[in-house]
């Protein structure tokens, strides 16, 4: 398996910051919305 794993990175390194950060923020927002909707009054 190691023969297939020699890294051949495709795409700009900036993507490694921007895309995960975007997904993280979306997840954070969704978590907040879930809590606000279902924990109301708790």
């Amino acid at each position: 398996m190691t023969e297939f794993l020699e890294p051949m990175r495709l795409g700009s390194p900036v993507l490694g910051v921007v895309l995960p950060a975007g997904v993280f923020l979306v997840s954070l927002l969704l978590t907040y919305l879930l809590i606000r909707r279902f924990m109301k009054g708790m």
Partner: protein, 641 residues
């Protein structure tokens, strides 16, 4: 992990992991309120929450492994292997609605509403026990798939990946029960869907884009895999030939004998792989066997790739090998397409009964998937879906939830499939299943830029935790609701039941570690057998119990008992002793279905029907479809309808 992960990757992994755990734990105050909250989120969820849970749960660490395996081997036709989940499309409008109306917590409880008397109690105990075992087993195989993944990519011992991530998951399952599971599932489902889309896009881009994939497939030579048989002689001379499946005319043959030896040697294998890759991409005259050739050495028992230049793309051929200088010929592939273009045709049938994609298999799959939606338990996934159906706030929400969740699952499969075609174009020479089935993971670790690799692993963790959390909570529900509450302490307080649920969660977790270590690396074989046990012999009884009033608990129990014995016999024991041939999977299904019917149909007809009062109560509550005439008339006579 050091070589694959940069500090930025670690950061993303840590942040996403914390977010997932916190999201689950946050609902602690809702989960602890009652048994109904701990296991069904109080039956008040809008459809999109159980839908995302259906999708997230059915995306596990082992899922991309087996989806990659079937697509790499069968091309886009392999997608049909994943089409079994379409039972949910029919179930949404039939069994899901009937089940939701019954208000049963679990499938085991539903059995006691549908059937009555001693048989019903035996059935509830049996189904509950089976489900506690089954959830441990599923957790074991999903957990060991994570262990295998971490072993392959990071070099960790198998048990580390198995124990570590399930132990992280149990934090929020213990704290918030199903509330934690379903909320974390929603978030994990979103993370996983985005991650799968991105990694698949990277896979397609790495192969040069969709057009390049099609073009490169069109230009490749033909191939099939061959496991070289073990011989008594230490050395033999081999030859290959390719014949037209219809006329028997020889289309290609070896230009000289190759050597087959019994010795072990890694160097020879590595060199062989490079030769296979070169042969697949070579320009050669039609009719030439390109690998193995006169200068090649194969090892007995090894699986290799045979390559030849096609005469006609997509013509069906029979590949044969000789290991005695051409005196006798062994089948390598019975019915196989030339070229590689067939991989992009999802309906590339290889005959009615022959080859890797026969029509008979396809019809069987459609019957199992579509008619299965009329029953309950016709697929192994039903039991998790049943929990999601009951957690929806209405019958309509229950319907929408499994329909939408399954649709997302099927879309996910197609994204994987396209990326796996890209992987095949990049690495067409992998013969060993254990290597090529890791292809989709290879794409992520190999081609993603720094930072994205950490997000990729966080996404893998999301699909893993969503499946683990579901089965921990589901196994605990059967132990709590159907054993403890029903048999041990029917007057237990809600607070006590929640605590019993937590203890049961820990027991299920411990059991999963044991099963995971037993399963080890033989994931696929165990998975397939578990599916046959669940699906084949009891498939029809699972439909009959929903649609036929006369089917009783003794019939259902006898079907289960017979299935346990017969499935072992038909799948493993009799073929091992040579008493019956090893049957293709679709024939195993039909044989088990018929053999089991010979047991449960007479048992049903020779025993009494269920008590009419019990049936009327069930009918009025659940409003099943099918053959319920006498019960419906009785309910109407009593003024209940």
């Amino acid at each position: 992990m050091t070589s694959l992960f940069a500090p930025l990757d670690w950061l993303w992994l840590l942040l996403f992991t914390l977010l997932m755990i916190v999201c689950g734990v946050f609902f602690y105050r809702l989960g602890k309120r009652s048994q109904s909250d701990f296991f069904l989120a109080g039956r008040g969820l809008p459809w999109w929450l159980p839908a995302s849970s259906v999708y997230a749960t059915h995306t596990a660490t082992d899922t991309p492994i087996w989806v990659t395996g079937v697509i790499y081997k069968y091309g886009l036709a392999g997608l049909w292997y994943t089409f079994f989940c379409a039972w949910a499309a029919v179930s949404s409008f039939v069994s899901a609605r009937i089940f939701r109306r019954s208000l049963a917590y679990s499938q085991a409880e539903w059995q006691s509403l549908r059937f009555g008397g001693l048989g019903s109690e035996m059935l509830r105990g049996w189904v509950a026990g089976w489900q506690v075992f089954m959830n441990m087993f599923i957790l074991g195989w999903v957990g060991i798939a994570m262990g295998k993944l971490c072993n392959v990519f990071f070099g960790w011992p198998l048990w580390v990946g198995l124990v570590t991530f399930s132990s992280i998951c149990v934090i929020y399952v213990l704290a918030a029960g199903y509330w934690g599971v379903v909320m974390a599932d929603f978030q994990q489902g979103v993370i996983a869907f985005i991650m799968i889309t991105m990694v698949s896009a990277w896979g397609v881009a790495a192969a040069g884009g969709p057009r390049a994939i099609v073009k490169r497939l069109s230009g490749m030579n033909s191939s099939c895999t061959w496991t070289v048989p073990n011989l008594r002689e230490p050395v033999a001379l081999g030859a290959l030939r390719v014949r037209d499946a219809a006329t028997g005319q020889t289309l290609a043959e070896s230009e000289g004998a190759f050597v087959v030896v019994r010795t072990q040697g890694r160097t020879a294998q590595a060199a062989g792989k490079e030769k296979v890759k070169a042969a697949l991409l070579a320009t050669a005259a039609p009719g030439t066997v390109l690998y193995p050739g006169p200068s090649d050495t194969l090892r007995m028992g090894e699986t290799t790739t045979v390559v030849w230049a096609p005469q006609h793309d997509r013509r069906l051929v029979r590949v044969e090998a000789s290991l005695d200088g051409g005196s006798s010929w062994l089948p390598v592939e019975e019915s196989h397409y030339q070229g590689q273009k067939w991989r992009i045709n999802p309906l590339s049938f290889t005959g009615m009964f022959r080859g890797q994609f026969p029509v008979a298999w396809f019809i069987t799959m459609l019957v199992v998937a579509l008619l299965g939606g009329f029953g309950m338990g016709t697929s192994i996934d039903w039991y998790t879906e049943a929990q999601r159906i009951q957690s929806a706030k209405s019958v309509r929400d229950a319907s929408y939830s499994i329909w939408a969740g399954t649709l997302a699952t099927l879309i996910r499969n197609t994204m994987w499939a396209v990326a796996v075609l890209g992987f095949f174009v990049l690495f067409p020479h992998i013969a060993a299943q254990k290597d090529y089935e890791m292809g989709w993971y290879v794409i992520g670790f190999k081609y993603l830029p720094v930072g994205m690799v950490g997000f990729f692993f966080a996404g893998i963790l999301a699909i893993h935790l969503s499946t683990i959390s579901t089965h921990l909570n589901l196994g605990a529900m059967y132990a709590t609701r159907d054993f403890y509450h029903h048999y041990v302490n029917p007057r237990a307080s809600e607070r006590r039941l929640v605590w019993v649920g937590r203890i049961a969660t820990l027991i299920v977790l411990g059991g999963s570690f044991v099963f995971g270590l037993i399963i080890g690396e033989e994931i696929t074989a165990w998975l397939i057998f578990a599916l046959w046990i669940m699906a084949a012999g009891v498939w029809l009884p699972n439909i009959l119990q929903v649609i036929w009033w006369r089917f009783n608990s003794w019939g259902y129990l006898s079907a289960w008992a017979a299935n346990l014995g017969l499935s072992w016999l038909v799948v493993w024991v009799l073929p091992r002793f040579g008493l019956i041939p090893e049957l293709p999977d679709y024939l195993q299904f039909w044989s088990l279905m018929v053999l089991n019917a010979l047991v449960y149909v007479p048992v049903t007809l020779l025993t009494k029907p269920e008590d009419m009062d019990h049936l009327v109560k069930y009918y009025v509550m659940s409003r099943p479809i099918g053959f319920w005439g006498p019960v419906k008339r009785e309910a109407m006579r009593r003024g209940l309808l």
